[in-house]
């Protein structure tokens, strides 16, 4: 369990580094089942179980799933694979952990996903022709994050091989490899703090919210997650909300800078899920 002690003082730094590793090692058990309408063979395909990294993307971890399930699909009608959870098509360009926080965090484990090879939902999903598409999307989000944090200077000062190292770290689930380069993007020392915090807030059935938000106010006072949520949601009601980042419900008094440094996804964004709180649901029912 990650404890969020977030004073951000020097003495906490070793402990904080452990948090980076804990976050990196977060995994979700998933059960992949072929959609009934896609089954072409007489024998029913067995479900396929995987423990997938929160920080990865589905196209990077589903090669074996496709290989296993596509044996049961009509080859002539086999299109691009896509995933669904209870009627919700899952966007491959969101990190897996974000998708889970959005749709699966109240589900029983393993997370039961339906695999489709037909009827691609063109309106809801982007096509993913190859892993290269995931890579270019990933690098683009990193660049956007750095444009917010350092006016793009940190990422522009890198060489192409550094970009590759970041990507290979994510693709091959290598923490040390990834952080050997990512530390340059996450550096905050003295004057060199983040200009803006790269973040997006996700709510059910709404477009993600993204605004400019500084780590401190005009007086130099530290801004917290509560300030951030209040700035993007006009009627943010703390008691009625459940806030999830990386599967964790952080204290709303946590400084946004600390969150950005420690709970960002590899794409350098804080992906924040906002849901109505379960207790609120219960109260309104009673």
């Amino acid at each position: 369990m990650i404890s969020l002690n977030n004073k951000g003082t020097v003495s906490d730094m070793a402990e904080d580094r452990e948090i980076l590793r804990e976050v990196w090692e977060g995994k979700i058990p998933v059960c992949f089942q072929l959609a009934q309408e896609d089954i072409y063979t007489v024998d029913q395909p067995d479900p396929f179980f995987l423990l997938v990294p929160r920080l990865s993307y589905f196209p990077l971890v589903t090669d074996k799933v496709v290989k296993h399930l596509s044996k049961h699909v009509d080859r002539d009608n086999q299109g691009e694979m896509w995933l669904e959870y209870e009627g919700q098509a899952l966007k491959w360009h969101y990190p897996i952990g974000l998708l889970f926080d959005m749709f699966g965090s109240r589900a029983d484990l393993p997370w039961n996903l339906t695999v489709h090879f037909q009827n691609f939902p063109e309106e809801e999903l982007l096509h993913c022709p190859s892993k290269d598409a995931v890579e270019s999307h990933f690098m683009s989000v990193i660049k956007e994050a750095d444009a917010l944090k350092h006016r793009g200077q940190a990422v522009n000062n890198m060489q192409r091989k550094d970009h590759k190292t970041l990507w290979n770290g994510v693709m091959n689930d290598k923490f040390d490899q990834f952080w050997s380069v990512n530390k340059k993007l996450m550096e905050v020392s003295g004057e060199d703090t983040f200009k803006f915090i790269p973040f997006r807030v996700y709510q059910m059935d709404q477009v993600p919210l993204q605004r400019l938000f500084k780590p401190t106010d005009d007086n130099g006072d530290v801004l917290t997650l509560r300030h951030m949520l209040e700035s993007v949601i006009t009627d943010f009601q703390e008691k009625k909300s459940r806030v999830l980042i990386q599967g964790v419900e952080p204290d709303l008094d946590t400084p946004v800078l600390w969150l950005s440094e420690h709970l960002s996804y590899p794409d350098n964004f804080l992906h924040i899920c906002l849901q109505s709180s379960p207790s609120e649901v219960l109260q309104s029912e009673s």
Binding site: K91, H93, L126, S136, H137, M139, S140, V141, K143, E144, A147, L148, G152, N156, F196, V207, P208, L209, Q210, R211, L212
Partner: protein, 137 residues
């Protein structure tokens, strides 16, 4: 170059043939959804908060658009802008077109313009570069 603002109206494809819509003289068949309504002034006064100004600049061998500044609904997606440009420059819809912010990153096609404008717009407009190949990154 003339940079008068035109309004791309916010109706979906189902309503693209509104009787009031007037085709822009230089858009030809580029897009039925364009109305030539000079109601939004380019001086910045009385801006409609539900719309943003975008400035489209070509990069690489992509054709130049004779009209570069447009006013677009905040809720429109990047993919919608790409389709609009493709029609305008008479590019096949199957051809790829890349849109860049800050000449640096390409937002995901399902990103809404409002968010990008809020974070990366300057001087009241959002500059987007378009090109046929991956120009940056």
């Amino acid at each position: 170059m003339s940079e008068g603002v035109e309004v791309i109206n916010d109706e979906g494809p189902a309503q693209e043939q509104k009787e009031a819509s007037v085709k822009s003289p230089d858009s030809n068949d580029a897009n039925e959804k364009i109305t030539s309504k000079p109601t939004t002034s380019s001086s910045g006064k009385q801006k409609n908060p539900s719309k943003v100004d975008i400035l489209l600049k070509h990069a690489g061998d992509a054709p130049i658009m004779s009209k570069r500044k447009w006013t677009v609904d905040r809720t429109k997606k990047i993919s919608w802008v790409a389709d609009f440009i493709k029609k305008y420059i008479k590019s096949e819809s199957s051809e790829s077109l890349f849109l860049y912010v800050n000449q640096s990153f390409a937002p995901a096609p399902d990103t809404d313009l409002g968010s990008i404008f809020d974070c990366f717009g300057s001087d009241g407009k959002l500059v987007l570069h378009y090109c046929r190949t991956q120009a940056w990154g």
